[in-house]
């Protein structure tokens, strides 16, 4: 349910149908980083979610580009002011996914006015330079080679602290109108050159995410493919219905 104050980062009331029932709302932490993780592999979703939570991020994990767009409210053409309130500080997505690739998702995010400023990180098991270049040209913030390690996520996290600090995002390494492409990227890519700031008490985006545990996003016959968890909670409790991803026709590369 929405926290006191009535503010909500979730876009529609149907997402709030699941009562949090018994769980105390986490302490309000405006500096808490909220990451949207996208990966069609359940194993990878669990791992990336844990990696992120251990580095003090709130995580929403979805199993496809479509789910991600749905979560962000980009899946239809209606202009929705309510989505301005959705606080997503980073999107991390697998590249190879059936249906919509991470690259296609990246493009859609960069085309949207509400979320183009959000850093998008691409993960891939294949170290293909043309792929990396293409993603960076499209505005990806970083490219991680799978399997993702704790050091990779810690590095992303420390860079994000600098970004989240300023709500207008002008601390981004990549300015809005130009993308610097480093075509000689060694794997793994070099760290983002943001200044780390220890002062985290500045004004920040207005809302804190509401904790929602797995709930159907749309029609009831769909599996629960969304796993949202807070840094304190355990993702592996018996109550959380971790569902398997649907087998869809694969779209490799």
């Amino acid at each position: 349910m929405a926290k006191d104050g009535g503010v909500s980062c979730l876009r529609s009331s149907e997402m709030l149908n699941v009562g949090i029932g018994g769980m105390e709302p986490p302490p309000l932490d405006l500096d808490e980083v909220h990451v949207l993780a996208v990966d069609d592999s359940l194993v990878d979703r669990i791992v990336i979610e844990r990696l992120l939570r251990i580095t003090s991020c709130k995580v929403t994990a979805v199993d496809s580009g479509w789910r991600a767009l749905e979560f962000l409210g980009l899946d239809n053409d209606k202009a929705s002011d309510e989505f301005d309130k959705l606080k997503v500080d980073m999107i991390i997505t697998d590249y190879c996914m059936p249906g919509m690739t991470g690259y296609e998702l990246l493009k859609k995010i960069k085309e949207s006015s509400s979320f183009r400023q959000v850093p998008v990180v691409i993960m891939s098991s294949e170290n293909v330079l043309t792929r990396i270049d293409r993603c960076l040209e499209e505005g990806a913030e970083d490219f991680l080679l799978k399997p993702v390690k704790l050091a990779d996520v810690k590095r992303l996290r420390s860079c994000l602290t600098g970004d989240v600090k300023l709500s207008n995002g002008n601390k981004r390494k990549l300015p809005e109108d130009s993308v610097s492409v480093d075509t000689s990227l060694p794997p793994p890519p070099p760290p983002l050159s943001l200044t780390l700031s220890t002062d985290s008490s500045d004004s920040s985006p207005p809302l804190s995410p509401v904790e929602v545990f797995s709930s159907p996003l749309s029609s009831p016959e769909d599996d629960d493919d969304v796993l949202t968890s807070s840094p304190e909670g355990s993702p592996m409790s018996e109550e959380s219905p971790i569902r398997r991803q649907k087998m869809a026709s694969p779209g490799l590369d």
């Binding site: 592999s41 194993v43 791992v47 390690k149 704790l150 592996m236 971790i242 490799l252």
Partner: protein, 156 residues
């Protein structure tokens, strides 16, 4: 009983090291262990359990795709192999991952016999890993039950 704990811990260390030395596990497994703590003490076991479920499902898909009377859709087999390669890589299941690399090549070459061989091997290999890890987790339980702590095992 300190002597019992010490003995179990030594057994555990040796066993774990042997799994790495024999190529069952690689450093991504070590990475997973870093993500386990007192708040999530069974994280590794739970992820591996999901991985093994994945193995059952994907191997089933591969078997069905290879079992077509008539033309085999090797891209369909390859898609499942690709997924298995990904998840085995993410959990540090080194031998399974290695097999998937070979398997993928056979798929791309439309090599039926090669694929069938790999399928059999992958099935054997994930089950072997499952047994080994079960033994390892059991040792952990025994250590804890004996009042000790599971030691961090330094692989190198």
């Amino acid at each position: 009983m300190d002597a019992l704990v010490a003995q179990l811990q030594m057994q555990y260390r040796n066993y774990t090291v042997s799994l790495y030395q024999q190529g069952f596990l690689d450093d991504q497994f070590t990475e997973l262990k870093k993500l386990q703590d007192d708040a999530s003490p069974d994280f590794v076991a739970e992820v591996l359990s999901l991985f093994f479920e994945d193995c059952v499902k994907l191997i089933g898909n591969m078997a069905r795709a290879l079992d077509q009377t008539g033309t085999v859709d090797f891209s369909q087999v390859g898609a499942s192999v690709h997924q298995l390669k990904g998840s085995s890589s993410s959990v540090g299941a080194k031998r399974v991952k290695g097999l998937c690399v070979t398997f993928k090549e056979y798929c791309e070459a439309n090599n039926y016999e090669g694929c069938v061989r790999c399928l059999q091997q992958v099935d054997i290999e994930y089950k072997a890993l499952q047994t080994k890890l079960q033994d390892m987790f059991n040792l952990e339980k025994q250590i804890i039950q004996a009042g000790g702590k599971v030691p961090q095992v330094d692989i190198n």
